[in-house]
Symmetry: C2
Subunit: 457 residues, 2 copies
Amino acid sequence: MSDPKTDVVEKLRELLGERGVRIEPDDFLPDVIVKPESTEQVSGILKICCAAGQSLVPIGGKSGLANGHFQTDGEIGLSLERMSAIEEIDTENRTMTVQAGCILQVAHEAAEEQGLLLPLDLGARGSATVGGNVATNAGGNMVIRYGMVRDMVLGLEVVLADGTVVSNLNKMMKNNTGYDLKQWFIGAEGTLGVITRVVFRLRPLPRSQNTALLAVDDFQSVSRLLRWLDSHTAGTLSAFEVMWPEFYDFVTREGGNHRAPLPRGSAYYVLVETKGSHPESDAESFEAVLGEAMEQGMVSDAVLTRSESERNELWEIRDDVLDFFNLGPFIPFDISVTVDQMEGFIQDVRSGADTLDDPICIFFGHLGDCNLHVLLGNRDPQAFDPARIERILYEAVERHRGSVSAEHGVGLAKREQLHRSRSPEELRLMMSLKKMLDPKNILNPNKIFAAEKIAAL
Amino acid sequence: MSDPKTDVVEKLRELLGERGVRIEPDDFLPDVIVKPESTEQVSGILKICCAAGQSLVPIGGKSGLANGHFQTDGEIGLSLERMSAIEEIDTENRTMTVQAGCILQVAHEAAEEQGLLLPLDLGARGSATVGGNVATNAGGNMVIRYGMVRDMVLGLEVVLADGTVVSNLNKMMKNNTGYDLKQWFIGAEGTLGVITRVVFRLRPLPRSQNTALLAVDDFQSVSRLLRWLDSHTAGTLSAFEVMWPEFYDFVTREGGNHRAPLPRGSAYYVLVETKGSHPESDAESFEAVLGEAMEQGMVSDAVLTRSESERNELWEIRDDVLDFFNLGPFIPFDISVTVDQMEGFIQDVRSGADTLDDPICIFFGHLGDCNLHVLLGNRDPQAFDPARIERILYEAVERHRGSVSAEHGVGLAKREQLHRSRSPEELRLMMSLKKMLDPKNILNPNKIFAAEKIAAL
């Protein structure tokens, strides 16, 4: 690992002052982190770095799971933590204009105070920044209802590699004036520009919420249940989370962290939730819809929550991924396959896992969005072979025409797997845009694409 | 106007056969139209044209209102009418894979037969093609609930200017594997590539529908009503269409085409609709919600429909734009402004219209999406001065930081207005992508951007 150029650091110190340049030990290495407090400063930083060929890594809350924020080769870290203001909540147009460094949960709370919902929620809400969420096109727990981050961004301000500020803080839902530039930067993981400001579309806060845990006997019923609920809870279905029995049975085991709201041993457990607007009648109609699903044989057992604490209890089961570290080391995967491929994919991964010593092989995920998480590893730490595990998993994804990244992005972690989900023509096009916007490859180099592949284009 | 090169036409005839190359008189000019029947043929056409520097105009249903499909300077027309197959409706994943030349209404009906909804609807449904809809990022009547076309496209197959086929017929809702290339081509009006296949996300068919026409006394109440309905009809509000009194009073005039379901003379008329899933209770709860809006003073009068024919009657009032040609010549504009700017914008346009001789000045639109349509003209055809009318309208859009195109695109009609809604930095970036993907500028040249501006980049 090389260090950032000394003269560049000096120039940045001049631009930003002492508070704006920090040397922070990250793991074992001292890293240079710059902390601008305005878009103008971000632009100034990029001009200095562009002129010197000094590369940068935009850093949000460091909660990404694809290592897109790692500083690996003398890059300077660019943290927007001092640009965290919520600049406006426009209650008439129902939009929020916010600086990229704002923590997601802070943005949530500010919207909620105005009776509005920023419909993006994920485990890292307390540390992730909205800039990082946009840069990775984050997903999370309500995608089935509100879409990915891409679907809630109305406007963006971005600073390009050469320091050019491209600002379009659009608040309008319909705006067909030429190419939709903001789409280039959403999900580009900081490789095309630095996101400095975001305009989000906000939604009305739901006025009621109903949650249930369902036991289902076979996969065909899970798939049928998803379609049935979607058509019988018009526009209000906000979660359809499936846990395979290895997940549920372990997390609710005797002596574990959670009691079992439904008996262990079913084939599938589905956490469903609706967000509605009629507190007086939604619970009743939710119960009726689930009752009919039971009568029709899609659901074998069910528990409905009657309080916020009961609801939390169900979600804590679904979210307790950390519990599995009690079993041994594993890799947490984030992939997509279509619903019709899912059973075959899982069978494939299980067969692969059977070739491992004492395997850990756990499935759960946002089935309503085709998104599975898979924990694959070994109970015996000595036997843990990440490369072999990745091969098993990603080969199965490729065989079932799935996506090697559903919501976590590519970063460094999945860079070498990208060809399994994208064609050479697609990869060439992507790299062409990267080369056009960042010819010196200073913006988060080596993330998504290896630098030498772009250079060879 | 020059003609396409003779040797190019010969080569195309060799590739496509007699059926594949037609000379069709369009208005007064004979135009060469090629009609491929496969993606491979589209690729072959582009290779021939790229080598010869022969430009092309991709043509859908010719229903676009921004003249994006006009052949103005010896371009060859590229019609995908022979590529109109619905290749698959996948009921388990709820997707449709369709060739670009399929007529929108045909796609609707095919989805409906499987109990599914392609949630894109617009007046030209009987002639517009899905390829044209995607190329223009069409909007229409259900955007408030389901979004623009951009929000329902999961996968695309595109042929680039050099004939490269870039295919990603993705069916998964979550797929964060690098840059989201399909976004480049959606709304690019055929200037970046030729869309040959589309994968749409389908939705469950609504099981109930409720429609009402409301009279509202002032704009503040219109804005409040929008927010109130959105929060009290969770996820089911599918239309919020506002007619200003000049619109409603004229269309429902004595001796006109439509009876007045509510008395004329109110300040605003709002057509609202929900699409729900509980036929037995939705009507009652819709009525209760509207009743409460009335009690709270947001609505002064209301009529609810009790049959499909009553519903059609309301929509026919909203859709009868042609009726205004009885008044005289006008330009139909399609613009966006945020809700808080709308009253000021309208005041501005009215003041401008007052400087015209015997003006026509009519407002209506999808207010829930910030999208207004404005008819501006003169009762006296002699006085009709399109350039002056455009200036009045677009200067008002610019003053209120609106968008010169909401859902109709740019094409030729709004090309010279684009700078009012987009910054020089944005325009430069857009043109850079165009230049990168189509260095000879053969794909729909002069649409969105004048050729000389791209050349001067």
